[in-house]
Subunit: 611 residues, 2 copies
């Protein structure tokens, strides 16, 4: 039969790979109204059959990632379906030859976390959050498809014009029926390679991975355990004289157990090769049982198992010409024990989505996209350096009479807790750049510029309903202008507020300059007064600071005093004079300014926006 002509099509963004990074990207772009296509090499059938694979990948959703998912409206279902890890337990060698508990602490050491726990849920269920959200917008993953060639135009004019399609990608349909085209050509404005640790996109672009293999070899089993171990539903770190284990409770009654393998018979540590014939889940359970003693642990069946010796590597660059990007495992690989893999991946593309949208809408110059590598590569490097320290501590022998240089419980605990800001994702801190301007930090001293907005409950002026501020900062690609109006019962301050409002609507001000005729497409203005709910009428504020009755908040407790209050204090803002805070579309603080420096906002937006 004659093969049809090769089909060619245009797309704004082609996402290659439908794991968590790729799905976050496609869903976010679609929500932003960008024309996006996402492909994956796995067929739906394979996906269905490979439940074990899906069950096995990735570990937990960390507190910051839950916040991010919430900003896309996806956290509610995650929290309903997943297991929450609140408590961590530590076991060390006891006098009697077995192990004993040396402490229980909060799993997450990040006091500002809105969700102070990690959620464990199999990767298929997490991907389903995105797939269902995308389906509601009429978008699905094209599969099974693999890219076979990728060419990027060398023409600088084409590369700098966001309306052009400089990336030409050839795709092969793996399940093409007879008479159907096996290949097609896609012309994309941008390509995102979210195609995993063995990324075809990365290799095709010739991007090197910097870093090395580790010496530590671990086995993993997913089981429904039968055990008398009292911390089986906690994240438990077991250091015994018979090896180390880590317990990660999962959804339902499932538990994941990581077992360190030190037996040279099974594993050749010099070149990291593992003889899979010599080892199996039964063997891993044998090793685990030794560490658990005097507690017993067994299972009727194995849900999934594997053995790994992972590299700790970061890609040397994250993009080529700001036209093709790599994200997720394609640009960083590390051990899964810290449970960061899926989190780092989703946060990579969360960082990229709004930037792509701004460039594609013609609002920003293409150079805005340089901040993706700047922000996310630095983070990936910190992740690897954290992972090295943590893995070494975890794999070290416990301190004992025979091992005076071993790792003590105190050492491990201190490291565990001091890493909290990192493992929770809460401490992620983007460096100064066009979109992170730290000039006026002192005016909101605790809203760290470059970090995500601290969660806090404020009470809505119009109806006394308490709201978590983060819920009013959805990932809708808009910049949020938080007008901390100060004390609106103070006449002088009301004069300042009215003056500020006049400035806001002046044609020379950033609000009109960059917001255009409909500033609400780019800006969402929220006003937060320090006065109390019996004193404030939202109707007293200037119109630009209350574009809808829901846009005025108070730093006051709710009617039952269950939440709210002291937000100005928590954020480090003057409760009389107030301040302006710019929140980026991804929820990170971009800039702070006192009322008097409202002009500086024009410079901030001018540094990456077109007027």
């Amino acid at each position: 039969m004659p093969v049809p002509l090769v089909k060619e099509s245009d797309v704004d963004v082609l996402v290659i790979g439908a794991g968590p990074a790729g799905l976050m990207c496609a869903n976010g772009l679609a929500k932003a109204g960008i024309i996006v296509r996402i492909i994956d090499q796995r067929s739906s059938k394979t996906l269905h059959l490979s439940h074990e694979v899906m069950a096995g990948q990735a570990d937990g959703i960390q507190p910051r990632t839950i916040e991010v998912l919430q900003s896309y409206g996806l956290a509610e279902r995650l929290l309903r379906e997943g297991n929450q890890m609140h408590m961590a337990a530590f076991y060390n060698p006891s006098q009697n030859g077995g192990i004993e508990r040396t402490g229980r602490v909060a799993d997450i050491k990040a006091t500002t976390a809105r969700y102070p726990f990690a959620v464990t849920l199999h990767q298929g269920a997490i991907e389903a959050l995105f797939l269902d959200s995308m389906a509601s917008m009429g978008i699905s993953v094209d599969r099974p498809i693999v890219p076979t060639s990728l060419q990027l135009s060398a023409d600088k004019t084409e590369l700098y014009d966001p309306n052009r399609h400089p990336a030409k990608v050839t795709l092969m349909h793996l399940n093409a029926k007879e008479g159907q085209a096996e290949t097609e050509i896609v012309h994309a404005k941008f390509v995102v390679g979210a195609d995993g640790a063995h990324s075809w996109v990365r290799k095709t672009l010739g991007i090197a991975m910097d870093g090395e293999q580790t010496d530590f070899v671990w086995g993993v089993v997913d089981i429904v355990p039968d055990t008398d171990f009292p911390d089986i539903r906690n994240k438990s770190a077991i250091h015994s004289n018979n090896g180390s284990c880590m317990v990660i409770p999962r959804e339902g009654d499932k538990v994941r157990i990581y077992v360190q393998l030190t037996d040279k018979e099974d594993v050749d540590l010099r070149d990291g090769r593992i003889d899979k014939a010599k080892i199996g889940p039964e063997k891993l359970m044998q090793v685990a049982r030794k560490s658990f003693y005097p507690y017993s642990i067994s299972t009727k069946a194995f849900d999934w198992w594997t053995i790994y010796n992972i590299g700790q590597r970061v890609a040397s660059k994250f993009s080529v010409d700001e036209r093709v990007f790599i994200a997720g495992d394609a640009c960083h690989t590390h051990s899964p024990k810290a449970g960061q893999g899926m989190n780092a991946s989703m946060n990579d593309t969360h960082n990229l989505i709004w930037k792509l949208a701004y460039v594609l809408r013609g609002w920003s110059d293409i150079s805005l996209l340089k901040t993706y590598e700047l922000e996310r590569r630095k983070y990936a490097q910190e992740l690897i350096s954290f992972d090295k320290k943590f893995s070494a501590l975890f794999s070290g022998k416990p301190r004992s009479e025979n091992h005076e240089k071993g790792v003590s419980h105190e050492e491990f605990l201190e490291a565990f807790q001091s890493f909290g800001g990192f493992t929770s994702g809460i401490g992620v801190h983007y460096a100064p750049s066009a979109i992170v301007n730290t000039n006026h930090q002192s005016h909101a001293s605790n809203l760290v510029i470059g970090q995500r907005v601290l969660p806090h409950v404020f009470t809505r002026a119009a109806d006394g309903r308490p709201y978590e501020l983060q819920d009013l900062l959805p990932a809708d690609t808009r910049f949020k202008i938080l007008v901390f109006a100060g004390d609106t019962t103070n006449k002088d301050q009301m004069q300042r507020i009215n003056a500020l409002a006049e400035g806001f609507v002046h044609p020379n001000n950033f609000y009109a300059q960059f917001g255009g005729e409909e500033p609400s497409t780019m800006f969402d203005v929220l006003t937060i007064c320090s006065a109390k709910k019996d004193q404030v009428n939202y109707t007293d504020l200037p119109a630009v600071f209350r574009t809808h009755w829901s846009k005025v908040l108070l730093d006051d407790k709710d009617m039952f005093e269950r939440a709210g209050g002291q937000g100005y204090e928590s954020y480090g803002i003057d409760p009389v004079g107030g301040a302006l805070v710019i929140v980026r579309p991804d929820g990170y603080v971009g800039m702070v300014a006192p009322f008097e420096c409202v002009g500086d906002l024009g410079q901030y937006f001018g540094s990456f926006m077109k007027t």
Copy 2:
């Protein structure tokens, strides 16, 4: 064409009427595995076309009703879709001839409410919660169908045998196509008439309504207002010298306004007749505008409007032979201003569901069903008496120089707040009966027997996750046995716990006597220790008190000290010696007992259960 033979069928429960009371009933019975059929006279098409009608009915979901919906897994969506009323504002005549605000308070004065606010949402959306839940079980409303005859067997043997079908109901299909049967006959074990204020079931049974019409005539409009009134998003009670108004904010930007009509031209107060030709929404807005002065209020369109002069009546009985029941508006009518209608209705059938299930399963004697009227008729009478006081106060002239006997702000506010337990539904208190045994109240002095279980957060022993206790008491028709185990670090107490456990599993104990071979089908045992999370291993408790790792709770704060702790104190239970608390399937406390009186539980269950 020949008309087919009349179709006859059997059903466990026939529910007539698919408003909130009927839907709550059918959904709950279906969840309990009962064969239920629900019919309604409105066609789907009518439902669709009569958006105005749906929008207009019913006012708000009160705190206790939200708790009940949560116990069926339906509250999350309600909270997402509805408007929350947190704040109430009061306006009274000012010196300048208009009105001024005299105060803002919490809308709900019920400090133990889990959800301290009412939710406003149109009735169609509330019905959709049930319809979607039923659809997931394969059940839908048969419509448009009306019952045309109802006969109940006079045979006592048949009436007392729950396996028989003593009710014969003839149904007429209103939209039957040619050649299809227009009538059918249903033989039901039980019939629930939830067919509204003009209930056909009630009239057919010849049940009288006791009570009277009021003198007060009110108009209602649903609008999206354009106004400078600063409390338009609060529940606002306006007493002006130009009439009274009540503002109820609704979902989106909608607001409902109640306007008292005193103009004798429009309304003949002697016989309560209203000339609808003389009045319309514009006129109602005119009246409202007078009360609102000096604030302005207008609208572009009317979503819905009506005028009413409601009766305050209660049915003389709620059932005939415990085989046919009436529920909801069919047995009580009252003014809508207190926002009780839909709440009373749904709570009627919530009370009935588990009782019907127990009788139909052969677990309980049919006499259990007598407690439905006992509990719900008393409540309905209290509701009417509350409504009378509240309506009179609300309709009274405000106190002023010319009206020294008028209602002062303080009087109104005091009444508003003292009614809080009632309007919130939190204070509902069922009288002693077979299922409300108050003998040992002192052992849990604040868990009032006959009231719903106080919400409180406990921390799960196995994993440190905080849980609202109410969420562990779902409406799954099981009795919950709360074993407040006391201080499990105390050796003497552990001996008492172990002794109690031995007693539990003894064949003469209530647990085996009434629970049979699989006690978990009737009982859910939750154990709550007063010891702290670093001290308790859930594995130390006797097996019957931890049938699953999730069944052991601690009276301790969560890992971040954000919730939990002091539960024993709140409930008035001895933190060393503990107590046993029986929670009915509908969430109301049925009995309390000290460990030593575990035998009394046998008497409690024996009074309404078969062994």
